[in-house]
């Protein structure tokens, strides 16, 4: 039996099936954790884009612009709170999604490649969470950025270059730099988005896992 979907080989029907194996649609099977991670990501994209209109990266500008967002700009505080909580939730749902995948053995052949992409997405999500925290530009963020730079510099050979590439030279009492801003707002979300789309497409291609 050829599923109907092969006749309409457009991109979205590849991403989203018209039919799927019985039982694979059970909420108690996947807990929607992958989908909820993507939903948080969409919330983060929207709120993050809006925050960019008022946020100022850099040692001296970051913290004042953050205070402006949190206090005087209409809806600035709620946008920031949404961005913060969607970020925390995304880390948790991505992690739980991985636990679910281990639990249902969904990493087994032919899904190894998708597992690797999933782990990369987990790592990138954590890095996004960290860079977002640094952009706050408070003293605590300065300390965190300084510690991260010193830790990266411990890596033999590539360490110092890598630290400069990822963080620049964060001030010890601020933590926000233009370089971190570009990673957090452009490069990392772009990478995550592309990996996610490929991740979903592979789920369709490799087929759903039957419930236990």
């Amino acid at each position: 039996m050829t599923p109907k979907v092969s006749k309409q080989a457009n991109f979205f029907t590849h991403l989203r099936a018209h039919t799927l194996p019985a039982g694979a649609d059970s909420v108690w099977y996947t807990f929607c954790l992958g989908g909820l991670s993507f939903l948080s990501f969409v919330v983060l994209l929207i709120t993050g884009l809006l925050l960019m209109f008022h946020y100022q990266p850099g040692e001296s500008g970051a913290y004042p612009s953050l205070l402006n967002l949190a206090s005087v700009i209409p809806y600035g505080a709620v946008l920031r709170d949404l961005h913060y909580w969607a970020g925390q939730i995304m880390v948790v749902t991505v992690l739980l999604h991985m636990v679910r995948v281990v639990w249902t053995h969904s990493y087994r052949p032919p899904r190894e490649l998708n597992w690797l992409i999933g782990v990369s997405l987990l790592v990138l999500t954590v890095v996004l969470d960290f860079t977002g925290y640094l952009l706050r530009g408070s003293q605590e963020c300065g300390a965190a950025a300084t510690v991260a730079v010193h830790i990266l510099q411990l890596v033999p050979g590539v360490g110092p270059g890598l630290a400069q590439m990822l963080f620049g030279q964060p001030a010890v009492l601020s933590g926000s730099t233009l370089i971190i801003y570009v990673w957090h707002c452009v490069a990392l979300p772009g990478a995550v988005f592309n990996l996610q789309v490929y991740h979903f497409w592979r789920v369709r291609r490799d087929g759903c896992v039957r419930p236990l």
């Binding site: 599923p3 099936a17 018209h18 039919t19 799927l20 194996p21 019985a22 649609d25 909420v27 929607c32 989908g35 909820l36 939903l39 948080s40 919330v43 040692e59 913290y63 953050l66 205070l67 949190a70 505080a77 920031r80 709170d81 949404l82 961005h83 913060y84 909580w85 969607a86 939730i89 991985m98 636990v99 281990v102 639990w103 990493y107 087994r108 899904r111 597992w115 782990v119 790592v123 954590v126 969470d129 960290f130 925290y133 706050r136 530009g137 408070s138 003293q139 605590e140 963020c141 300065g142 300390a143 965190a144 510690v147 010193h150 830790i151 411990l154 890596v155 001030a171 009492l173 601020s174």
Partner: protein, 121 residues
């Protein structure tokens, strides 16, 4: 293999999305995100890492940085990346045991961090 229409899944996902968005909005309205200490203020005497990095901050208190913050996290990531192959080599029950041990150890370190940095101080 039986197949069911995708529409059922779409409906369930729709309901889950609405509930999830509502929960996120309620959380954001009730618990504002922290702003931290101003860089202009006198230097803080104690700073705490964001919660997901709690386990690493605890490790840094007791282990040399190259071990606690480079080697151990790197080993954990490599273990996760290699999981499908590790599972094939040592059996899925043993691999699952290792995976959940890693989770439990991280959770314990997080708890340790919480006790030490938030409640105890």
């Amino acid at each position: 293999m039986d197949r069911v229409p995708g529409r059922q899944l779409w409906q369930k996902e729709g309901i889950a999305s609405v509930l999830f968005l509502a929960a996120t909005i309620i959380l954001a309205l009730m618990l504002p995100a922290a702003v931290g200490t101003s860089p202009q203020a006198p230097a803080a005497t104690h700073t705490i890492a964001p919660w997901i990095f709690g386990p690493i901050q605890v490790l840094l208190l007791y282990l040399p940085p190259w071990l606690g913050a480079v080697l151990l996290p790197l080993a954990a990531i490599i273990f996760l990346l290699g999981y499908p192959w590790i599972s094939k080599a040592i059996g899925s029950a043993a691999a699952r045991g290792l995976f959940f041990s890693l989770l439990v150890v991280s959770a314990l370190l997080l708890l340790w961090f919480m006790v030490k940095e938030y409640w105890w101080r």
